[in-house]
Subunit: 187 residues, 2 copies
Amino acid sequence: MSSGLRKQFEEFIELTNAEFDYILSHFQVKKFKKHAIIIQPGDAVYLEYFVEKGLLKTFTIDNDGKEYILQFAMENWWVSDYQAYQTGERAIYTIQCLEDVELLCLSQQDRNKLYEEMPKFERFARLKVTSGFLHTQKRVMALLQNDTLSRYKQLLEQYPSLFQRVPKSMIAAYLGVSRETLSRLQI
Amino acid sequence: MSSGLRKQFEEFIELTNAEFDYILSHFQVKKFKKHAIIIQPGDAVYLEYFVEKGLLKTFTIDNDGKEYILQFAMENWWVSDYQAYQTGERAIYTIQCLEDVELLCLSQQDRNKLYEEMPKFERFARLKVTSGFLHTQKRVMALLQNDTLSRYKQLLEQYPSLFQRVPKSMIAAYLGVSRETLSRLQI
């Protein structure tokens, strides 16, 4: 267990076994069944989640019942309502399990403790959020250009197995297009 | 000079005068005239820029000559082609001065040196990029929801003086709508 987490740390920083075990000791394991909701609008958000197994979505629903997906999270992805987690504001998103999931949970408090104790953990965090920022900028540009195909390809690249795991309606809700437009791409 | 930079650091971390002066000693001042292009597609990008004075835009132009604006940068904003700056890839964006500008420039090499020497500078960087990530996520959600008014309000909040400083066609190119749609908002 947690080999995915270790591998991800080591993309950015070097860790001894003892250092990794120490970081890992701050995580809690949680398991949820398919359909479970782990964060909903209005929640205070103390935890972020590293996905060991399974798939989740972060989404919002507008007044007309239309769904918009901010993020999918599958194995080796991090997920939370980050605005709430970072700032102490209440959650605005729903995060729901699309499969049975196993999560490693880290509290904001333990995260801050690790930053104080291990500057390289803060380096990992900086590089990881930078990578998220760059991905999100690319998604903005593809949305501005109304370039569905490039958004589709970007999604496929980020989550290669996603298309076998979720219905096309959710892919459309992530891309910001109708189910029909997605079908017309014929891909 | 550079009081804006100091104020921004101090939103996130505490700094003595000596520490601030040391950080500042790694920045170079550069001035450019209105219309100057400081980064263009294909460039290697070694610098990021803190705007002391003036206004810039980061944009791309598609094959039909249509402009898409990823970012404006005015006083106290950072700007670069961050994908290129972070990864060593070539620039894909153009960054152009919309007014005469004064910039404080920091190289990737000096930035990394400062991280090694001052962990709190890395903390500042982590918190700053996290804030950029959260803003960019909000913009994605507003684009997905096709909610021009909320994107407009978000822009106004981020850059209150922008609307006095750039033509409406550029606001439209940032929001991803036509000039006509923008006018119909009647705001």
